[in-house]
Amino acid sequence: MNLLKNAAGRLVPLEVNGKEQIPFKGINKFKPTGNKANPPIRSCKDYPANGNKVVKDLQTALKIAGLKDGMTISTHHHLRNGDALTNILFDTIKKMRIKNIRWYPSASFPVHSHLIKYLKDGTIHHIEGSMNGPLGEFTSYGKMKGVGVLRSHGGRYQAVQDGDVHIDLAVIAAPTADSFGNATGDQGKSACGLLGFALADSEYADRVIVVTDNLVPFPCVPWQIQGNNVDHVVQVESLGDPAKIVSGTTQVTKSPDRLLIAEYVAKFVEDSGIMKDGFSFQAGAGGTALAFALFLKEKMKKKSIKARFVRGGSTKYLVEMLEEGLTEYILDGQTFDLEGVRSMHENVNHVNTSPFTSYNFHGKGNFASMVDAVVLGATEVDVNFNANVVTHSDGLLLHGIGGWQNCLFSKCTILAIPSFRDRIPVIVEKVTTLVGPGELIDVIATERGLCINPRRKDLLKSLKNSSLPIINIKDLKKEVNNICGGKPAKPKLNKEKIVAIIKWVDGTVLDSVYQVIE
């Protein structure tokens, strides 16, 4: 394999799955030229004038759409761990004896471990998207035929838009749709909120199949996905398990240590002056992030401060802020619980967004860089503030990138993480896999104090009178090593075999993931 050291000092391959790659050149350094991908022209004449695109079943749709060996098929993760459709899709593909599919999901979940048998038997050649849990483990041990490609949500849109990835066939799970193909996620028994992750696919794929378990007469309103981009509609009994699509309620952490971290982050946002009228923030649905939002809410109430917008993953906690007037808008990328779905359905100020509006790096700007503060997690952070979200310290690939890389462009990026988990150091000398360059990461908030990136002298200055425990990240690493019993040994990796690559938001290759020796 031909490897080159990129601008981040990481060895990356120049060719992956037969496709040429550009090594990472530094933040904001790579600027491609030329035109976007150009999907084929279609004519109304080839589609029913009465708008009815319903076909008998999924297999029929795949057949008419021209499914062939070696094609790229995309799916989306808005049904999360409740997704039954993707598994049924590949059961069908297997039945049709099609081989060597490149699967292009926006993310995968443990429910998709069903697909391991298709990775083994050659139905699926490799995955480009995220490889979570069992799929990640499978990949890590070098068992996947091709090389995995991990992209952020924004990077996925960019890859499709720029023509890096050509989708032959997009299969979109739609909690509600009409026979024309208009589709929405905010209603129906499998309601998930929104379908933003499928936007790029609906616009750029050769063929688009909408699969729904709630077919309504035309028009389906709102049309988060426009039927004008859809080839076929398939009706099924069920898309999956509603209880796992959205949780009934999302849980704030009960761990006193995580609560302490959340409290520190909220206090940081207040003391640094970020929390002021008209500000904005983003926090996900993890237990610590939720607790942060609750603590911040109390602080905002006490000082009568209102946000202009908050970015979701929305949960009932953000919905409460919207309904209590503490924020004017929720700009939502993904709804995590039933309250989030209800609010999106009822409240015009709860707006659905897509990776195009929020994250796409090759557009005329995106929302991520306009957010005042974002609270994220990580599996590892090193003394230079570089962070990892995809592999663990044992080298195993276990998570996708999600919107994480894209969010790093916020005006203040805060990683809220424990300094170690059980006996696994999180603050390390050098991250196993580089997913986020340290120059974009401003604050590491741990239960043992906050580390401020020395580049952010402004933040350090604004915290001069704060009672927050500000510590040096090198001292923290030392303490963590003391607690865990010395420096952790490096994972045993086969440096000859790259099992996956990490793409940066601009499509360049930031790092390689190596085979873990069992």
Binding site: P256, D257, L260, D394, D422, R423, I483, C484, G486, P488
Partner: protein
């Protein structure tokens, strides 16, 4: 003929276990040490765990054994404690102790009259709660060998607590251990006295004699192990008899630093139940406050057991404070902050204390024997109390360090 195989085990096992480990030991006649390690952190610390187990085997002169370790991310002090427990269960006559290096960060001392507003209970056999406990800034941390440890795990907890006292950084919190009810509790002392325990909590205390028994035993171990620093006692009154003997108990040792009350057992003992209003314990609590005050030590209140009810906790601290208590037990880290806030002096109280302290300092400067504000004389205990109030206000950042200039 095969001799009887000796087997033992220590530590918990199961998928839900975190930061702990299970050790199984089978003594053999021959074959050397066979170590089977399964660890969640194999790639990072597998070698280090193996080395520890082999070092310990050598230390205990263990030559032939089958050792199985199922590790769920336990820290070294926990692995060492679990292995030593298994060892001693297999060979109960082993007297040797495997002591990890005493951490420099655990060297700090305490004082008899230090602030003891909050003390956080940590179940003595649950290592996952130890390592971050000090971050929540309770005035004291109690490694509990008594009620939170099941009777079959007492010896496991003794070794774990001993190792924790040597290895875990409690970030300046007072290092307390609650021993078992006497006479069992006397056996606990050798595991804690040599390892910089600051305060020993004596539960279900009913006589001065019991305190004196602890004091004697502590003295003996201190002499044996050449321990120089002071170790203080906090007897806990938990019965009708204890309440009646409160004064005798409070004055039993000059090393008593506080007298505490435990209401769960007390209410059962007098044949009633705890209520939110707490009328049933008014007498007992007042007795404890008065006994403690009579000998000049700190009266400390019981725990508040509903961890989700912070308002209830706050009210309960206000009430304790009004009865004269200076501290409260915590069973969850989130209670600490609420307890500290509720014990914080009010603005009027601070104002008054500032005037008194200023008058006192003025009198000292002028070498006057008597402190007075206007025509009113101030007695020394009032001055002392005012100084305490100022210290508390400083700690809570209610006033700034240079308050005298303002």
């Amino acid at each position: 003929m095969n001799s009887r195989t000796i087997k033992s085990s220590a530590g918990p096992k199961g998928d839900s276990i975190r930061s702990d480990c299970y050790v199984e030991l089978e003594l053999k006649e021959s074959g050397g040490i066979k170590l089977n390690l399964q660890s969640k952190v194999e790639s990072m610390y597998g070698e280090s765990i193996r080395k520890l187990i082999l070092d310990m085997s050598m230390f205990f002169n263990l030559k032939n054994a089958k050792i199985k370790v199922e590790d769920y991310g336990a820290l070294p002090y926990t692995i060492a404690a679990r292995f030593e427990t298994a060892m001693k269960r297999a060979m109960p006559r082993t007297k040797k102790e495997y002591l990890l290096t005493f951490s420099k960060k655990s060297n700090y001392k305490t004082t008899k009259d230090r602030l003891r507003r909050s003390r956080l209970y940590l179940p003595g056999n649950e290592p996952k709660y130890f390592i971050n406990a000090g971050l929540h800034q309770s005035d004291g941390l109690i490694l509990d060998l008594e009620d939170s440890v099941s009777p079959t795990q007492k010896n496991a907890a003794q070794l774990l607590v001993r190792n924790a006292l040597r290895s875990v950084d409690f970030y300046g919190g007072e290092r307390m251990v609650r021993i078992n009810q006497l006479p069992k509790g006397l056996d606990d002392l050798k595991y804690i006295v040599p390892h910089n325990v600051h305060v020993i909590l004596i539960p279900k205390c009913e006589s001065a004699k019991q305190v004196k028994r602890v004091e004697e035993e502590v003295k003996k171990i201190k002499k044996d192990k050449r321990v120089k620093s002071e170790i203080y006692f906090m007897p806990i009154i938990e019965s009708a008899l204890g309440v009646i003997k409160a004064f005798e108990i409070a004055s039993a040792s000059k090393n008593n630093c506080a007298l505490a009350i435990g209401l769960e057992d007390y209410t059962a003992d007098i044949g009633t139940q705890r209520t939110e209003e707490g009328n049933e314990s008014f007498f007992a609590r007042s007795m404890v406050v008065n006994a403690a005050r009579a000998v000049g030590i700190q009266p400390i209140d019981t725990v508040y057991s509903d961890v989700s009810n912070m308002d209830g906790l706050r009210i309960s601290v206000f009430e304790a404070k009004s009865l004269g208590f200076e501290g409260k037990g915590c069973i969850h880290p989130r209670q600490v902050k609420v307890v500290h806030e509720a014990f914080a002096p009010g603005n009027e109280e601070i104002d008054k204390a500032q005037k008194i302290v200023l008058a006192f300092e003025e009198a000292e400067k002028k070498d006057l024997g008597v402190v007075s504000i206007g025509s009113k004389m101030i007695d020394p205990p009032v001055v002392k109390r005012a100084q305490k109030t100022i210290n508390l206000a400083l700690m809570n950042k209610q006033i700034s360090k240079d308050w005298r200039k303002q």
